[in-house]
Amino acid sequence: MSFYSKFYSGKYLRFLIAPAIVFALSLIFIFGFGIKQGIDLSGGTLLTIHTTQTVNTDEIKSYLQTNFGLEDVTVSFAKGVQSNRLDIQYLQEPNLVSLQTEIQNIKTLESQGSAIEQTKTLLTKHSVNYAELNLKEYKDWISQLDALYNTEKNNRVNGILSDLGIKYGFDTTNVAIKEISPTLSATFYSKIILVSIIAIILIVLTIFLAYREFVPSIAIIACGLLDVLGGLAGMAIMGVPLSLVSIPALLMLLGYSIDTDVMLTTKLLKRSEGSSVERAGDSMRTGVYMTTTAIGAVLIMLIFASLYNIVVFFDIAIILLFGLVVDLVATWMMNGPILLWYVESKKK
């Protein structure tokens, strides 16, 4: 008799301590380290510089803070085989913030006349010769304000880049720039929340419709959620931000990691060969191999992503890796014991 067939033969409810520990640890990691929001959701600017140099991130960070007064700067550096990667992300630049406030104030003025007057003052202050622009109506002036903001924004970014280029000798022609405006990030944010809610509702419905029994359905969903917590803990530990890449990956993990639970539940509830303990052990044998192969593949992806500095792969691999490891505990030490207890108590 193997490890698997003996696994549930003892007092299996004791296993529940393991998922409890995993749950607590995940929460500690998530709230202890915190998960930062990626630029998609927070808005702001992300500059990615590929360089062969090795740089001191703290030095660059304080340089940017003192010279440009950037807010919420994070600077991260990763080595790769082909080139190293320097990411600089910041939320706002004070001059732009004040410009934005000024623009907003003008836009909310009730009198269009004084709004136009103030626009003129602002344009002059930023040396825009509005006389040549042939602005007639109120809306022409207002759209000029937005144009001014955009021009200033680009000037700032280029200023920062050329400054870094001169100081550190980076090749600033090969820079990737990502800018997400506050309106866009707010839209992304509300959309991804909506997606998550719909996804969770759909998955709950699917499972309840398939099994039509309360305890097993709840157990499957609880497992999925614990896996997602594991993925989140992985993000907190490895510094993977919440983004439009990582949230779909978390949802994917929710849908994917459930397959072992589905197998276990199906075998326990819908079959009759052998004892339930045997069937649970049987399922575990299959399930552990399923998860092991997946972890093996994800590890390859993770190594590859680190070698070539491919952030998208790295983020997804981290989430899947942590989620799948947690899934081993969640499925076989939480769902397994709960279902066995449920099946056996039903028989009595």
């Binding site: 590929h50 082909q82 080139s83 040396s127 825009v128 010769n129 040549e132 622009l133 042939n134 759209s143 937005d146 955009n150 021009t151 280029n158 090969n174 820079v175 990737a176 720039i177 990502k178 800018e179 405006s181 309106t183 866009l184 839209t187 959309k191 909506l194 997606v195 719909i198 996804a199 759909l202 998955i203 699917t206 499972i207 398939a210 439009l244 890449v245 779909p248 949802l251 994917m252 849908g255 994917y256 459930i258 072992t260 589905v262 197998m263 199906t266 079959r271 060969e273 299959t286 092991t292 192969t293 093996g296 593949a297 390859i300 992806m301 590859f304 491919i310 998208v312 792969f313 899947l320």
Partner: protein
Amino acid sequence: MNFLKNIKVIILLVILILGAIILLTKGLNYGLDFSGGTQFIITLSEPVKDGSTMDRINETIAKRMDWSGLKDVKVNSWDNRFVSVQIAESDPKQVAQIEELLQKQGKFECVFEGKVLFNGDSVTVNKSADKGYGINKNKSTGFEDWAVPFTLNPKDARNFSEGIFHKCVALPDGTSSCPSTYFFIDRPLDSLVLIPKDIYDVESLDTDTYGNEFDTAIKNSNVNYIIFTEFDSNTLNEIKTKLTTLNLQKIVYPGTTDIGVLKDANLNVKFIEVAKTSDPWIKSAIGLKSIIGLRDSITNKNVAAITAPNFVVFANLAIQGAAPTLAEAQSEVNELSAILSSGSLPVGIENISKETVSPVLGQNILSKILIMGLLALLVVAIIIFVRYNDWRIAIPIFVTGAAEVFLVLAFAALINWQLDLVAIAGILTAVGTGVDDQIIITDELERNKGKEQSEERSLLARVKRAFFIIWMSAATLAATMLPIIFVFGGVPKLIGFAITTLAGVAIGVLITRPAFAAIIKEIINN
């Protein structure tokens, strides 16, 4: 090899062949991550509720991008408020320039005596040959004369007619001398135009194109320019002074001029090269489209005052020109009509978000990703070999996984999906779920191999039950991935992961797994 006769295996083989044909004929589309480029997301200043306005915005932006000479521009809008524009350019300076072009309103202007009389917003193009729209061969010059007639709205028509009132001067010989109106598109008012002396000499004598008005044309444009022979210190100083005193942001120069000296001079401006076409260079440089001389009649010569009852308001005008070839005349007409009829955006632009991807990874990363994928599958195959101690099981799992990758790629080619890194990550994870399912099938069949078939345990029943689990896990995955496609549908770059995952799962459940089950059943039975 009996399984080759199985219908499910035959279906798989047929689809694999189809997939190969699709991949060979259509090829794969690579997204920004591999080709490099920029995606802009434009936030409009207000939501656009009606579809035709949104179409117009998309069209205008697409036309404008085409016009700027960019290729492979993709424009699409979502949520009534956002327009994504994808271009294959990632150099920050160029990108900033394009961003500016996007923000521009696409300005057509009619300038008279240095003042704007009306702009593109007041204009409706008459696309009818009766009104003169189109191209006619001029027998005497041999050129193709073209014309784009348009109607002014009443307010601006009046404004125009008043603006040119009594502008012709009677000459002693009984004829009149009339000034001209100048039509511009996007006059480079924020630029300094560098005119090499040799171009100036040739073009200022070209009376065919300008009459005698070369100088007046430049002056009327209000564009700042200098005429120079070489970039000596005097010229450089002049350029610097003009740039700073007039606060100019760009330098416009002809492609034939080497501006290396200027680029090294730290002028902090953008350089815009304007190529020489069949038109005189200066026309392209200042955005001049047409010079139209006035005639006595249009200036209301015989009317006493603008308030007089017989004062005539002219609303129907035309932009005219000539080109040496029919093709050039046609493109001129098309461009003008495009800008005039869908010229400026109907709503303002609040801000532009963007993502540039430098082609640092390049396409060579693809072969590495392929190797990684095969390596991952190999690791899986090894784990499976260790488990079953039988290559006859590990190999089909490996082959099925590879077939799934292949079919998802064929699917992407079929729907012209742009493959980005996220999409490839989606393929990898989909194949991961596929392997899981294959393990379930294998275990289900392998488990009771030696036992008697006394219960309802026929192989068929076991495969059926394995498929319940497989369908369930496919359904849960669909439940989490479908909402992404519905909610983010308009932003292709964001749903690539969900698309390929779902495609992979669907292909797996419908095509590859049934075939795998048939094959593995055969192998285990022997």
